[in-house]
């Protein structure tokens, strides 16, 4: 007997509440992230401004540049980056296309201008060669009702 409840309904209830085996799940999740991290590619090398102590050239990978921009652009309330595309000539960054998502009702023009300043600060702070000459193009491609960072 399973009382008034059909056994199938009771089994469904149990299935919905079945616990995750923490150890096994952690193995799966760890495996996923290990495979992902091992597959990361640095992207194109971009020349940094300053030579090292022996006069050699130092490069930073495209992935590092995108990560730095993502962090910088996510620091602004009501705005989040959704795509970053780099144009590179040899080992120099020449143009940057940034797609942004803003919160509906926010002053998107002001947000975009502050974002542009953050982009230039970030590039100069790496410090990327010819950072001032990079053509930065920002586009607000979507709006959300809530802060897009949340």
């Amino acid at each position: 007997m399973t009382g008034g409840m059909h056994p199938l309904d009771q089994a469904v209830e149990l299935a919905r509440l079945e616990p995750v085996d923490a150890g096994r799940w952690e193995d799966t999740a760890t495996g996923v992230m290990a495979r992902i991290r091992s597959s990361l590619r640095p992207g194109r090398p971009l020349r940094l401004l300053l030579p090292d102590d022996r006069g050699g050239t130092t490069y930073v990978s495209e992935r590092v540049v995108v990560a730095a921009l993502r962090r910088a652009l996510s620091a602004e309330d009501d705005l989040a980056p959704s795509a970053v595309r780099l144009e590179v000539d040899g080992d120099r960054l020449t143009a940057l296309h940034v797609d942004l998502v803003g919160r509906y009702g926010a002053d998107l023009q002001a947000l975009a201008e502050r974002s542009r300043a953050r982009v230039h600060e970030t590039l100069a702070g790496l410090p990327l060669a010819a950072a001032d000459a990079v053509d930065v193009r920002l586009s607000v491609v979507d709006v959300t009702l809530e802060d897009p960072r949340r």
Partner: protein, 207 residues
């Protein structure tokens, strides 16, 4: 078969938590959309949050439809890795959750084809589960009941099985199930109708 009826929820009786629960994982408050945007820009921490938010449900779904925990782990892992690789091309036509179920469903179907070459014939649906002996109670009975459900599910045709689990266990809407399985909402209704009837008949022995 006798099962003691109590007024407590299964989670209280057996110490189970809600779906997706596991300890020692920091609560991530960002929405799926916010995590998706960050992950698309290479933020592996954001993707790890996606993995921890949706992975347990994906694995539970895979285990129900594959009937094997190791296969379910493989299908879930492959699906999540393929999701990471496909992030740049994911257009957001469906929700992140539906898309992830689509991916794990495909991986599970691939595994099913490779590892279980004998298809389940519709005639098998006439078979009934045997009633289990009246010796267990509490957790053991719950485990047996769930085991009976798993066995019964394995005898349903693939899409019936997947539709039923996505609806009844994971709580997806008809159109989400249709998107995940690449069928129409009308077909999903049919799968669910037949699946419920077949499962109810099989589980009848537990009354």
């Amino acid at each position: 078969m006798s099962v003691t009826r109590t007024t407590t929820l299964p989670s209280e009786r057996f110490g189970w938590g809600p779906p997706g629960h596991w300890p020692d994982v920091e609560v991530e408050e960002r929405s799926d959309d916010a995590l998706l945007r960050a992950a698309r820009l290479g933020d592996t921490d954001a993707f790890a949050a996606v993995v921890h938010r949706h992975g347990p449900g994906m694995r539970r779904f895979a285990r129900f439809i594959l009937g094997d925990d190791e296969d379910a782990a493989d299908a879930t892992q492959d699906a999540l890795v393929s999701a990471w690789r496909a992030l740049p091309t994911f257009r957001g036509d469906s929700s992140l959750r539906t898309w992830l179920f689509t991916l794990v469903s495909r991986r599970a179907a691939d595994l099913q084809r490779r590892r279980r070459p004998v298809p389940v014939a519709d005639e098998q649906l006439e078979r009934r589960l045997p009633a289990l002996p009246d010796t267990a109670a509490g957790t053991a009975v719950a485990a047996d009941l769930l085991g009976a459900l798993r066995s019964a599910l394995q005898e349903l045709p693939w899409r019936q099985r997947a539709s039923w689990v996505l609806r009844e266990v994971e709580g997806l809407a008809y159109d989400e199930i249709a998107a995940a399985l690449g069928v129409t909402s009308g077909q999903v209704r049919g799968y669910l109708h037949r699946g419920r009837a077949d499962l109810a008949a099989r589980m009848e022995a537990w009354r």
